[in-house]
Assembly symmetry: C2
């Protein structure tokens, strides 16, 4: 099916200026641009990252792009092109590929990403989608996990918890927010996207930066889905915000001055909330009765069993 499917795909994909040669040669040719290239890759597999038919193939295709877009947003990068690899169950392979691709193309069109190439195989196994996304930081350096400075303010986009109720299949990656922040000219010292959980990913940022965070726990935005899930689970909504995965929000650290400037900006594409301050002592902390209490990061650690 590969040759005929690639022919269909050539007809369905938008021509974008950043890709000079797309599907149909030995490799794609991507035009040089300003600044360093940023590249990430993430795969999702039926039975591990989603369940069929509970999730639609269209949503799964969309999600495979969105999780990679979120990684580029965390670098402050604009996505430019994608290489998409599908491993397809033998039964109904062409139909599955078509439906998955409709979701992939929806995300690609929404974020102006060119499908530059890919690979297709049918095999005796579950649907697996692997996306490699390439992008650039046109006007500056990529944001890294490792740059947080003592005294920085920690900002969180959106709200957290309960994505399993459905939001996890249709995440809105924060690329527009990242671009808007860049355009304001403020300096982001460190950034990460929340895939495993707010606490685990904030802890990762701290570990890479060699710092800790003094959290204002009550300020952490709890998503209405966390409230709804809490009614079912018997846990507190905050616990879901703290430990649930797949929010695909951004955590950013900036100097107090730059954070203030950013929070004063009108009309950002997503809300930003200050949730704590970077401190020299490693770990996640909160104040309780005038004392520092250490918090334990919790959630799903990807790939662990």
């Amino acid at each position: 099916m590969e040759q005929s499917f690639l022919a269909y795909l050539r007809g369905r994909t938008s021509e974008l200026p950043q890709v000079e040669v797309g599907i149909g040669d030995d490799a794609a040719v991507i035009l040089p641009g300003p600044g360093p290239l940023v590249a990430c890759t993430d795969q999702i597999i039926a039975g591990v990252d989603f369940e069929l038919p509970a999730a639609s193939l269209h949503d799964v295709g969309y999600k495979s792009m969105a999780i990679n877009l979120s990684d580029l947003a965390a670098m402050g990068a604009v996505a430019e092109s994608a290489l998409v690899t599908l491993a397809l169950p033998k039964e109904n392979a062409t139909q599955i590929a078509g439906e998955v691709y409709e979701g992939i193309l929806e995300a690609a069109d929404a974020f102006q990403v060119a499908i530059a190439g890919g690979d297709l195989t049918t095999y005796d196994g579950p649907l697996a989608i692997s996306v490699t996304l390439l992008g650039r930081c046109p006007d500056g350096q990529p944001w890294l996990r490792s740059g947080a400075q003592e005294g920085d303010v920690v900002l969180a986009s959106g709200a957290f918890g309960g994505s399993i109720l459905g939001r996890h299949l249709r995440p809105v990656p924060r690329n527009e927010l990242a671009l808007a922040i860049r355009r304001l000219g403020v300096t982001v010292n460190a950034a990460i996207d929340v895939s495993d959980s707010l606490s685990i990913d904030l802890d990762r940022l701290c570990a890479r930066s060699g710092v800790g965070v003094d959290l204002e726990v009550d300020a952490i935005p709890v998503h209405p889905d966390a409230d709804r899930l809490a009614e079912q689970s018997g846990r507190r909504a905050f616990e879901h915000a703290w430990s649930d995965g797949e929010d695909f929000e951004l955590l950013l650290t900036l100097s107090a001055d730059d954070a203030g400037q950013l929070l004063a900006a009108a009309e950002l594409p997503a809300p930003l909330t200050p949730i704590g301050k970077v401190i020299g002592r490693t770990g996640l902390w909160m104040m309780e009765d005038g004392k520092h209490v250490r918090l334990s990061p919790q959630g799903y650690i990807h790939g662990d069993q």
Copy 2:
């Protein structure tokens, strides 16, 4: 296992100047270089592209890189960095990942490719390895399938047929040859690497260029493995050279002048043989008793069943 395996991998991978930020952030940061970026991706899956335990995990890892290196060689590109995604059977996942990576790193070290990032998942399915390779054409334009001109000479590297006897697991991608050709300053009008078969891939190059080839069939280099396989299969060695897959040799078309200059060059990293001439009439042809006879491309078409 992902976090601990990534820590092992960070220790095992060479630091190369082209990758500023490698494994351990949301995305890799790759420094800008001259010329357009060239990107390809290819996956191989147990039970489809190789059989375990007949193939060693080390060889399979090596092959997953080599087939992508071959795609970049066909563009005349130098490989710079790779993103590697593994889908691992749950049983013995860490051991399998380690052995596969030894083969990946062997190829990466041999061709000076930085492992810039990747993903790992354990699942209920066969070993699948997906590699995305990024490279550049530092001193010129990428070679495409579509540039063949009437009157060009068709050159083939190496020899063809019988790779199934073992060579297919340890292909030598022709990146050094491609670089040597670039350094000679000759113009390659079109190129492709032979993955499905000499005849199928030559036919693809012709289709993309809107031309045909008048072949000197007796000049096509037949690999000794094709002779050995012919003794087992009862077919002619030439049939194996014509229709067997996974030779990973290059087919190039150049003007007669440039081809002559190239063939006169001393000490190329691989032998080059003229096997035909590009003609305006589409299709693959040979002369027999003074008449043009059309030849049918044959071999394994990847993904077809």
